[in-house]
């Protein structure tokens, strides 16, 4: 008992000592400052100071909510990783797209090209440093670009930079500050290609690239909690404008409603791509939030794997005929997409108005198409058979930009014409790997159609000789025109060829097009500059800053 009392006494005395010490410290501070004030006032001042410091800390931190598209940040791992490096403000390229998809100078400040369009000399901007303090030299640029290609050649990663550019040599001249690329074929506009995130320049000789890539962007990684968040800090060596936030937290939020609730509750300051039209409208209607929207160059579509059951053209035609694209875009996904039937958005200048839809919505025509092709339900189970086997399409999707809504709507519409569809929802990485390995019948995805300012590389998806032809589509006429497009440098002639390529894909029922996505970025009113760009490669930039 006595021991307990002693302990209590000791505790009380300790507390008193702490309180007395704190009060004396306050007095000492007052005396030092020769400030005539009472203890109470001093205390209030301290509280105010603390509060101001906290407010300053808060205003110095930006919380950004977004979907995690890749666990790795090594751009050679897969295309999503390359995008993340660019989107998170870590890596920057030699060039940068403006909203008209023209490539502007960025880490390169000048270039020249010979008359054969194969010998390109890029001058690297002086004074740029990586976030680790190392200088951005031409040698570093060459090392970074070579790393991507060597990883691809070794099969270490799924990224395919050679899809956009193949070269004979890349050499650095550090004294002249230039990088010379001798391409293996002429390119009309190599600058646009180099603006793609595959070609973000990283200090590949430093650090663990998959978790801590070192770039020249406004922010640098402090810590990476896989699939949870990334803590970042301002790049003290940033070559552009002053980085507005000292700290940046990227918080991974998969669910669109959670994103909307997070910004409404103040848990995050900025979120990308809220896909629920209801949530988006709520934010648009409130003066407490800014909503930036961009429409046009993203196409939601599903690959139709023509190495499997969908090699049957009648079946593909029936699938497309049975789908009500307008209703899916306007009602099912609440207007987040504009309906369309070509792989290139109607807003781009590639002759959409001249294209003819070979498979407009017509359920009766879909049924007739299947019946005529002998794809009927012979065993009375409600589902049709092809070559004696029940059709059960394996439809892969992932939770991004309303793709799951589309797949479910498509599944029920195809079910009504006797085609069973099994929807399998997975994550972006797994879906990509399954796309590459061909383990699907239908696979929903969402692509930037002009990734390098031109749809040439995107149309490669259906070029039979391409390694990026994951769906097994083959058409000799398409291949011929595509090869012609490769060497055609005239803009109008290219547009005409692209129009023809689109029509071939439509006529062959090669792709299931969902529509053209409207991207958005939402921010709280205390943040300005959080814009969604036409090129969806840029989310976090030094332009996002406190509004005051």
């Amino acid at each position: 008992m006595r021991r307990i009392i002693n302990k209590k006494t000791a505790l009380i005395l300790t507390l008193l000592a702490v309180i007395a010490g704190t009060s004396l410290a306050g007095c000492a501070k007052d005396n030092t400052n020769n400030d005539i004030s009472t203890n109470n006032e001093t205390s209030t001042n301290d509280e105010n100071n603390t509060q101001k410091t906290e407010e300053k800390d808060i205003s110095n931190t930006l919380n950004f909510g977004c979907t995690n598209f890749s666990d790795s940040l090594d751009p050679s791992t897969m295309i999503n990783a390359a995008w993340c490096v660019s989107r998170y403000g870590i890596g920057e390229g030699l060039f940068h797209f403006d909203d008209e998809m023209n490539a502007d100078y960025y880490l390169c400040d000048n270039y020249s090209v010979d008359e054969t369009n194969t010998n390109w000399v890029f001058h690297i901007r002086d004074g740029v440093k990586f976030s680790n303090g190392n200088d951005l030299t031409p040698s570093k640029v060459v090392a970074s670009l070579s790393y991507m290609y060597s990883q691809e050649a070794e099969g270490t990663g799924n990224s395919t930079p050679s899809q956009y550019m193949t070269y004979d040599s890349i050499t650095a001249d550090d004294s002249a500050g230039t990088v010379t690329i001798v391409t293996s074929k002429p390119y009309a506009d190599l600058c646009s290609i180099l603006a793609h995130p595959y070609y973000s320049i990283l200090d590949v000789e430093q650090g663990n690239i998959s978790e801590n890539p070192i770039g020249t962007g406004p922010y640098a990684i402090v810590s990476y909690d896989t699939d949870v968040s990334i803590k970042m800090a301002a790049n003290e060596y940033y070559w552009g404008k002053e980085v507005p936030y000292q700290n940046l937290n990227i918080i991974f939020i998969k669910d669109t409603t959670t994103k909307a609730l997070a910004i409404r509750n103040g848990d995050v300051d900025v979120v990308e791509n809220i896909n629920s039209s209801n949530d988006l409208t709520t934010l648009q209607d409130s003066s407490d939030f800014n909503v930036s929207e961009a429409t046009g160059i993203r196409c939601g579509f599903s690959y139709m794997n023509q190495k499997g059951i969908l090699a049957n053209e009648a079946l593909r035609n029936a699938v497309l005929l049975a789908l009500d694209d307008e209703t899916m875009c306007n009602i099912t996904v609440g207007g987040m997409y504009t309906a369309g039937y070509s792989v290139l958005p109607s807003g781009l200048d590639y002759g959409y108005q001249n294209l003819k839809d070979s498979t407009p919505f017509d359920v009766e025509a879909a049924v007739k198409c299947l019946d005529d092709a002998g794809i009927t339900d012979t065993d009375g189970d409600g589902y049709r058979e092809l070559n004696g086997q029940m059709i059960n399409l394996n439809y892969l999707t992932y939770d991004s930009r309303n793709l799951t809504d589309f797949t479910e709507a498509i599944a029920v519409q195809l079910d009504s014409i006797g085609i069973k569809v099994t929807v399998n929802t997975t994550d972006a990485d797994t879906e990509w790997n399954m796309l590459v390995s061909g383990e699907y019948d239908l696979l929903a995805t969402n692509w930037m159609t002009v990734p390098v300012g031109d749809p040439y590389s995107y149309l490669d998806n259906w070029y039979s000789k391409s390694t990026a032809n994951y769906c097994g589509y083959a058409n000799e006429e398409y291949d011929r025109l595509y090869e012609e497009l490769e060497s055609e440098l005239n803009k109008d002639a290219r547009a005409k060829l692209i129009e023809q390529l689109q029509q071939i894909l439509i006529d062959d029922a090669a792709v299931l097009v969902h529509g053209y996505y409207h991207s958005n970025m939402c921010s709280v009113a205390s943040v300005t500059g959080a814009n969604i760009y036409t090129a969806d490669y840029y989310w976090i930039t030094a332009d996002i800053e406190p509004s005051n």
Partner: protein, 277 residues
């Protein structure tokens, strides 16, 4: 008949709840006979219609009738919950009785496996198992079965151990009774009342756990009409189209309450302590 009436008079609560359960099962079984709209018929243009008119509970994002989906959902939820409960009861009882009766290595192995499984939070382990096996109603049942049998095994074992060393067991052994006969004749009847009461009380819990897995995306897959999945599908429209969550949520709530109360009533009837009163 008179005995039945006497039983009903004596156990009114149990009788009423049994009638409600019978009604639930009847509703589920007879659904195709009286539900005019298929739960899988969709009309995309009729999406998000509010409750009323042709669609008593409104429609969902694909224009499917929520009322018919809720009613049909009872077929899946009831079937899977009952299947799960019976499976858990069977597996737990067999392993528990075997471990308790034979003891030794069998007891050690079974109970250490049970200890390992108990050391993890049940739902988390079920999510892990369902995640590995892939999302489907059957896999969700298997996942919960894997983590739930331990409770029954422990209970059965403890009840068996209570009588394992009684004289009448030794007498049976001495007179040449086979182990299987003793297990059937003495052990099983001794443990079953308690285990059945526990199982009856657990039907509601099992239903909630299955709905929980489906809600998290580890159970039923679209387009199945399953209550947990319906809650998940309605979640993102909760603020604007609340009927997408209210009706399946209400259905889960009612059925779980009925089965929980039924379990309590059954316990009151079968509990030996109540008989002595």
């Amino acid at each position: 008949m008179k005995r039945m009436l006497d039983f009903v008079r004596l156990h009114k609560q149990f009788a009423i709840l049994s009638a409600l359960v019978f009604l639930l099962i009847l509703t589920a079984v007879s659904a195709p006979l009286w539900i005019k709209i298929s739960p899988y018929d969709s009309n995309l243009k009729d999406a998000f219609l509010p409750p009323g008119g042709e669609h008593l509970f409104g429609t969902d994002k694909l224009g499917r009738d929520v009322f018919s989906r809720v009613i049909y959902g009872s077929r899946i939820s009831l079937t899977s919950s009952l299947l799960l409960t019976i499976s858990v009861l069977f597996l737990g009882t067999v392993l528990g009785i075997t471990a308790g009766y034979f003891g030794g290595v069998i007891d050690t192995v079974v109970m250490r496996i049970a200890d390992m499984l108990i050391s993890f939070p049940g739902m988390v382990l079920a999510i892990a198992v369902a995640g590995i096996m892939g999302a489907s109603t059957m896999n969700a049942v298997i996942a919960i079965l894997i983590v739930s049998w331990t409770k029954y095994a422990r209970l059965a074992r403890s009840l068996v151990l209570k009588i394992r060393h009684k004289d009448y067991i030794y007498a049976a052994l001495t007179t040449g009774s086979k182990n299987l006969y003793i297990l059937k004749k003495y052990m099983l009847p001794n443990v079953m009342p308690t285990l059945i009461v526990t199982a009856a009380s657990d039907i509601g819990t099992m239903m909630l756990e299955l709905a929980g897995l489906s809600f998290l995306g580890f159970g039923a897959k679209p387009p199945l009409a399953e209550w947990g999945l319906m809650l998940n599908e309605g979640r993102i429209y909760m603020m604007d189209y609340p009927w997408l969550m209210i009706y399946p949520g209400f259905a889960i709530c009612i059925v779980v309450v009925i089965f929980n109360l039924l379990g309590d009533s059954l316990r009151d009837i079968l509990d030996p302590r109540n008989k002595t009163k």
